[in-house]
């Protein structure tokens, strides 16, 4: 078999992450070729192996994106022998990733200082809601709370409405930033041979998404929630079309766009309130009303294509079925069809980007069953004999 050419080929990750943000980080690393070993136990299996009532999922998931590509081993970290085995796994890996509440890894005897003793050039990622330090570091949280603490939730919303809660995109954005920082730490290790502890607070990622508003706030200003409006562009927003719940997004950047929009729609206005970009900004609501009336009679999909042909920024507000049907995303490998004997064909998120040389990037294997890779990990990597493993299993260390 031809060896895979992936940018992170040869990197191994000991993956203790739970929930969504941490597992997405290690999933991204695995997509780019890292070998990622997911550590769970029968007593504390990953959430996807159980029903999730709050999301309306009444049984275990058959496919879990963020677990794809990962190897699975069982390890009951409540027992000292399991902790010792975890340390051997860390020593055999390049990166250790965890996303417990701060303090949990220390209680387990697996904190950075302890692990750096067995792996002097350890690169460790700790991902948490509020970070490893500071008065709020013990706070528990999920994606909507990250958005609330970080200010992104406050700044998002209709101008006259309440703040808006962020969902999984917030988790996964934290995970992507964590993957980036982890790679930077690996480069640092390559250069210096030294260990590094990356500390990512998901709420700070939410704050990074309002970095401009925070600059304003630091200057004593009180930034306001703009809704769908943009200070530089008018018309700008999301407009109804001739089909219910089929919306067209539109951003008119300059006078050229404004004229092209009218040309593409076969409309024209000589209203002086709309004669220049500055005039349209000053009469934002009126221009929205006019363009809204034009677009209400249009087919959104056809109009988006015509506007794009005229160089105007437009796109239909797509639901996931639209995305699943998109030949562009499939051509790029951003969407990948996956299947397995027990998993009917379905779509998953594929490669994060196209790499011209190390092009083997994306999903190589699907959701692992619990402990399916112990022959390789405990047998080949750590050199445990069958008898040793049976003994550890009988005493529920490997469990």
């Amino acid at each position: 078999m031809k060896p895979l050419r992936s940018p992170l080929a040869g990197i191994r990750v000991a993956d203790f992450t739970i929930h969504a943000a941490g597992p997405f980080c290690t999933h991204l690393l695995s997509q780019m070729g890292a070998e990622c070993i997911k550590i769970e136990s029968r007593t504390r299996p990953d959430a996807f192996r159980k029903p999730h009532a709050v999301y309306g999922r009444m049984q275990a998931a058959t496919f879990d994106q963020v677990s794809a590509n990962k190897l699975s081993v069982r390890l009951n970290l409540k027992l000292p022998e399991a902790v010792a085995l975890a340390k051997r796994l860390v020593a055999a890996s390049d990166v250790t990733a965890e996303s417990f509440r701060p303090g949990v890894m220390k209680r387990l005897g697996l904190d950075f200082e302890a692990l750096a003793r067995v792996k002097p050039d350890l690169v460790m990622l700790s991902l948490s809601s509020s970070g490893q330090s500071g008065p709020d570091s013990h706070f528990a949280g999920y994606a909507p709370l990250f958005g609330a603490w970080g200010g992104l939730g406050w700044m998002s919303g209709y101008s006259d409405g309440p703040p808006v809660e962020m969902r999984h995109v917030m988790d996964h954005s934290a995970g992507m930033h964590a993957a980036l920082a982890t790679l930077a730490a690996l480069h640092q290790r390559r250069r210096t041979g030294l260990a590094q502890h990356v500390d990512l607070a998901a709420r700070e990622v939410a704050s990074a998404m309002i970095g401009d508003a925070l600059v304003q706030a630091s200057a004593g200003e009180q930034p306001q929630r703009p809704g769908n409006a943009d200070a530089a562009m008018a018309p700008h927003g999301i407009y109804a079309s001739n089909r219910p719940d089929r919306w067209l997004t539109l951003a008119v950047r300059d006078q050229g766009d404004w004229l092209a929009l009218q040309g593409a729609l076969g409309r024209a206005t000589t209203d002086p309130r709309f004669a220049s970009a500055a005039a349209r900004r000053a009469h934002r609501e009126a221009v929205d009303e006019l363009v809204g009336a034009w677009l209400r009679e249009c087919d959104a999909d056809d109009t988006a294509r015509r506007l794009q042909a005229a160089g105007v920024c437009a796109h239909v507000s797509w639901n996931m079925q639209d995305i699943a049907d998109d030949p562009h995303l499939r051509a790029r490998g951003a969407l990948a069809e996956v299947s397995a004997p027990d998993i009917p064909a379905r779509l998953a998120v594929g490669a994060p980007a196209r790499f011209s040389v190390t092009s083997d990037v994306g999903i190589r294997r699907l959701t692992p069953t619990l402990g399916q890779d112990e022959d390789y990990v405990y047998g080949e990597l750590l050199g445990l004999s069958r008898a040793q493993r049976s003994d550890l299993e009988s005493r529920e260390v490997i469990f």
């Binding site: 050419r5 997405f24 991204l28 709050v54 309306g56 058959t62 963020v66 970070g131 490893q132 709020d136 528990a140 609330a148 603490w149 200010g151 992104l152 919303g157 309440p162 808006v164 809660e165 999984h168 995109v169 996964h172 954005s173 992507m176 930033h177 993957a179 790679l183 930077a184 480069h187 640092q188 250069r191 590094q196 990356v198 500390d199 990512l200 704050s207 990074a208 309002i210 970095g211 600059v215 304003q216 200070a231 927003g237 999301i238 997004t249 951003a251 920024c313 239909v316 797509w318 639901n319 996931m320 079925q321 562009h328 951003a334 779509l347 998120v349 980007a353 196209r354 011209s356 190390t358």
Partner: protein
Amino acid sequence: MPSVDNQPLAGCRVIERSRSVAAAYAGKLLAAMGARVVLLEPEEGSALRRAPPWLEGSQESALFAYLSVGKRSSVCDLRTPQGQADFVLELGEADIFIDDTPLDERQACGLEPESLARRFPELVHVSVLPFGASGPKARWNAEEVNLLHAGGEGFLLPNGLSNELFPDRPPLKIYGHFSEYQGGSSAAMCALAAWWAVPAEGGQYVDVSVQDAVLAVGAFALQRLGDGSLEHRTTRSFRYGGVFRTLDGYLELLTLEDRQWLGLVELLGRPAWACEPALADPLERSRRGDAINQHIRDWMARHPTEHIVARAQQLGVPAAKYRTPEEVVRGEQERARGLFGPATLASGREVEVLVAPFQFRCTPLLRGGAVPALNEMSRETTA
């Protein structure tokens, strides 16, 4: 002690050509980790220098300040022989080149990946475009509002209380440049992955799409589609929990685990409705979500945010205040962690800028710096 030499990306040299937030954010993230990032700008300066929001008084771009602090600026017009010569010199010393020039303009600027790969075989060349550099829509144009909806998340917003209050309004974008930030984060991540492979594989071209990045962070909705559920903003609200109006503001509350639910019952003062035995079953709670939420809303509306949040945290109930930007900038947690650093704008005005949404505990990041004046590198050379 933080120093230039002990930063994670010390020694990494990056050239950035950006007109989009995505490409500029990729450069910002690398600069924050110690890379030397040179922003190549046209004569009139990057369009982002004029992008909103603008600071009152000086009218300087708060967005550009955020995205460019710590970078260097050099004017380089690739349509001139001098610009081309300067560019070749810069790239000859660079590890990573980040570029968001539209495809149709690349040939005229000498930015085609094949020719750059021949001349700079060790270079990591990262293209960042709204829909990527390949595929049938590679030449489509887009701004933030288009991209959030092209990636699927826009259609799903707002959910929860906002959607309940305004069910007939159009979907709502996330504040600012959320999609572009995902594209930028992805571009920086992929740049470092490709740079990692240079000793074994040499340089390469990396084609990043903002739409792909939005879809990637929205993977859960695609997973739900595979499970048979097409998500919609009207139905993807949490069965119970979410945004609540309090006596003096808003907070977010979410209980996913049994012990958190028990803490919530305690927080609410053990009311009779919550102690009903049937509600011990999480599936039953999920089924009765609307009724539960109504009870919680009634209670929240009578209590102040800080009181609720403090008590909730004691009881292990995940709850957070919806904080304003002013509260974030002044936040004790943020201050304790040094999230912000002092930045000097081109006008000399001092502001604070978020350093980076991650920390390196063994070698802390340098904080703050200057927002580069246009072409300050050249002025420095000639001075």
